[in-house]
Amino acid sequence: MPSAPAADNCLIIAGQVAGPCEQRATPAGIAISRFLLDHVSAQIEAGWPREVRCRIPVMACGEPLARIAGRLSVGARVRVRGFVGRANPREGEYRLVLHAARIDVLDSATIESSVSASED
């Protein structure tokens, strides 16, 4: 089992679902959903206001979270809290993926609003 030290790794980010959610199950039967999150916001940097944009993949593992993620439609606004990890094991690749621990649906035209689920 993992024996890495405990250390801070927490990301809370809000944004819009950028594409269809992929859904699958591992051979052991654990549900995994994955979608891309587009983030746009105003932030202050070096004392100046600025705009920030980024796109990050989100993994939602386990039945409750994967179900919520699976119901998200493109364009839905969500807030995701979780930890980040590398997206694949290849050496020299530093892309990140956000592993959701909680997903709050902030605004969605197509599904019931403010559904949330979490592992906490």
Partner: protein, 740 residues
């Protein structure tokens, strides 16, 4: 103590010791039945075991006073005929294997345990009476069709038929039989063993022979009185079976028996079915799927001459026959003829020796003969009989190589293959996909840290079986539930990598939801009878997408298959074993042979990442003979079998060092005697660790066979005497079929 000349019994006792044991005759026994070939109960250590009397010796190297008497003579006459005894003695020396184990191999389990060698009471046979014949002629049974069917059938068999044989003809056959008996039209009588089973007119007239078949039949028929090896080299679908049947017919007509060896009984039901159809009367079948009792009965039927045809797998080569006339080895290239543990004999090679002892012909048949056999044919040791064309004018399938480099593969299937499958399925034809890997995927991978599902006992990966949700090692059999999270980093994102038949099946269900599939591999046919059901479904056209492992490749005819896809040909191209490409070519052609048997021409598509591999190209464009010529040229350059003779000393221990140390010692012992023999190694086996044991080997290579055997003879005695670690095991394999 003086002994009477010839009164020392030299006995093979089931033990791993490479020697025979001397006994005195049982106290007060009748000397008459003491002939080589009878079984004896003898004391051995503190146990009583069943031994096999090899010879009556005039004296013993031991102090006769120390000899113990045998306890009992178990047979009144030799159990094995002289030819089998001679064969076993030859094999014992050739394979350098302990006599006790060699002789045990030749006997059914129950006989090894001391059971009496007598056939169970014979079943009565029903026969037509004169009154019955009159009734049949007078058409008295117009209103009793079941009775009539039985009488019609019995009219064809003057020797009668057993109730079991008649069971299939009507419903309630036993009631019908009683009714006919009450009318006095049939009688049941014990079979008359003196009268040969008269072969009435065969129910199905045999198909006419084409000129090549006729020439083959004529050549062997002309040699029925002498030893000759024939290599029947016939493309798939060329009617080799019909040649076998005609020759069997000729042999039976001479009052002799035929012995037919096949690689696996379950996989060659059609050959047996055709034998049964053509030659009514008992057919003895010997294979590992029988109960010990059934096996003994079949063995005794052949020995007594009651079964005119004896068919079986590898060990049937030792089956005693009362009047042997012909030996047939079907699919002679098949590796399952080589025993892979214990007494490592090759049944094809032994069949040839046996035919030599008997002075009768032996017929080796294959569409893809082993390179060894082709080489022997080239040198004139075997006479080649070619069947270059398919019967009925069918064409051999065209082979196309499909380059899948840089092609997106959907679950292992390329777009061109999928398109071709669609076209054939749209025409209501059958498609066969071959993937020689069972399970869902050959490995499970952690997408985040790269962990692989390795077996803890072997240098191998554990295969994912998704339905069972287990990881199973196909090498040692170890298994465990599939991991929920990565054992190394804890991630849940574990992914199956690569394709097995289970995954291919799931992918096809997605791609062709309306087409019924038949998956044939060891997992899907584990239940008794499931293979037969599956085959029946395929033949009625109920399932049109067939997929499977090499189980699909052997022996079956699927006349409606017009497209064969070989999903991954690359496994065999770069194997460690020098025979890997030969095996791959044979397998591809065997699978290809399933296609286009009827009027519809077949096509074979081979998916590969190495479209320019020279042997694959030759195979696809010029066929097996050209492939074999190229492969033989390569073997000659590299001095590998059949241009040299090989033996392999294998050692395994729980510690790699021990295995190597033993082989180093072995090598040092061999060197003084190694003139004409090249010693290679020790080297670790291709899969060094298996089932928790480390394996290594030493290869012996000799241009001249006598050099090799001279060395082996001296060397093995030294090896057996050499001190070694208690947990080390070693074995010798003469003419090994694979490195491990």
């Amino acid at each position: 103590m003086a002994t009477v000349s010839g009164s020392i019994l030299r006995v093979a006792v089931p033990s791993p010791l490479d020697k025979t044991f001397d006994y005195l005759p049982p106290v007060g026994s009748d000397p008459a039945p003491l002939q080589p070939g009878v079984r004896l109960r003898v004391p051995f250590g503190r146990r009583h075991v069943v031994g096999f009397l090899l010879e009556l010796a005039p004296d013993t190297a031991l102090d006769p006073a120390l000899l113990r008497p045998a306890l009992k003579v178990l047979d009144t006459e030799p159990l094995l005929p002289a030819d089998v005894l001679a064969l076993l003695r030859w094999a014992q020396h050739y394979y350098h294997h302990p006599p006790g184990e060699v002789f045990a191999t030749a006997l059914p389990v129950l006989l090894r345990q001391g059971e009496a060698a007598t056939l169970p009471e014979l079943l009565p046979r029903w026969r037509l009476t004169a009154a019955g014949e009159t009734a049949l002629a007078a058409a008295a049974l117009r209103r009793a069709p079941a009775q009539r069917a039985l009488l019609d059938h019995l009219a064809q068999f003057p020797a009668g038929a057993t109730a079991a044989e008649l069971r299939g003809l009507t419903r309630n056959s036993s009631t019908v039989l009683r009714a006919l008996q009450a009318k006095g039209w049939i009688v049941a009588a014990a079979p008359d063993l003196a009268a040969p089973d008269t072969i009435a007119l065969p129910p199905v007239p045999p198909p006419p022979l084409n000129p090549a078949q006729a020439a083959a039949v004529a050549a062997v028929s002309a040699a029925l009185d002498r030893f000759q090896v024939f290599l029947l080299d016939g493309v798939t679908g060329s009617g080799k079976t019909e040649v076998y049947l005609r020759l069997i017919e000729a042999v039976l007509a001479r009052g002799q028996q035929a012995l037919v060896l096949t690689p696996e009984i379950g996989l060659t039901p059609q050959l047996l079915a055709r034998c049964r159809e053509r030659f009514p009367g008992p057919l003895a079948v010997l294979h590992s799927g029988l109960s010990d009792r059934e096996r003994l009965t079949a063995w005794l039927l052949g020995r007594a001459g009651q079964a005119r045809i004896v068919a079986g797998t590898r060990s049937a080569v030792f089956a005693p026959l009362q009047a042997p006339g012909l030996l047939i080895v079907d699919e002679e290239h098949d590796t399952s003829y080589k025993q892979q543990d214990g007494f490592r004999y090759h049944a094809r090679d032994l069949a040839i020796m046996r035919a030599r002892y008997l002075g009768i012909p032996v017929l080796l048949g294959s569409a893809t003969p082993a390179l060894e056999s082709l080489y022997n044919a080239q040198r004139g040791r075997y006479q080649t009989l070619c069947l270059p064309e398919r019967v009925g004018g069918g064409r051999e399938p065209a082979i196309e190589i499909l380059d899948v480099r840089r092609q997106p593969l959907t679950e292992g299937l390329s777009a061109p293959l999928l398109a071709r499958m669609r076209a054939h399925l749209a025409r209501d034809e059958q498609v066969l996909l071959f993937l020689n890997r069972r399970g869902f995927s050959p490995v499970l991978l952690c997408h985040e840290c790269g962990w692989l599902s390795l077996c803890q006992n072997c240098d191998a990966r554990m295969t994912l079986h998704l339905r069972a949700r287990r990881l199973i090692c196909h090498h040692c059999g170890d298994s465990r539930p599939v991991d929920q999270i990565c054992p190394s980093c804890g991630s849940v994102d574990l992914r199956p990598i690569g394709q097995g038949t289970e995954r291919l099946d799931a992918a096809l269900r997605g791609a062709f939801p309306d087409i019924d599939r038949a998956r044939m591999d060891r997992d899907s046919t584990r239940r008794r009878g499931s293979l037969e059901t599956l085959l029946a479904d395929i033949h009625t056209g109920g399932r049109r997408l067939l997929l499977g492992t090499q189980m699909l490749a052997k022996g079956h005819h699927f006349p409606e298959v017009t497209l064969v896809g070989i999903i991954d040909a690359d496994q065999g191209l770069y194997g460690v074993d020098f025979r890997a490409s030969e095996r791959m070519a044979q397998l591809i052609l065997q699978v290809a042979g399933r296609a286009g048997r009827a009027e519809k021409p077949g096509t074979v598509l081979i998916q590969t990442h190495h479209p320019d591999h020279p042997l694959l190209r030759v195979l696809a464009t010029q066929g097996y003979p050209a492939f074999a010529a190229a492969a033989l040229a390569e073997r000659q350059l590299t001095m590998l079998p059949p241009f040299a003779h090989q033996a392999l000393l294998r050692a395994e221990a729980s510690d790699a060092q021990q295995a190597h140390a033993f082989l180093d010692t072995a090598r040092a012992l061999a060197e003084p005697h190694a003139s004409g023999v090249e010693l290679l190694g020790p080297a670790p086996a291709p899969m060094e660790r298996r089932a928790g044991r480390y394996r290594a080997h030493l290869v012996l290579l000799a241009e001249q066979r006598p050099d090799l055997h001279r060395l082996l003879h001296i060397w093995l005695a030294q090896l057996r005497a050499a001190p070694r670690q208690a947990h080390l095991r070693w074995s010798l394999d003469v003419d090994p079929a694979e490195l491990y």
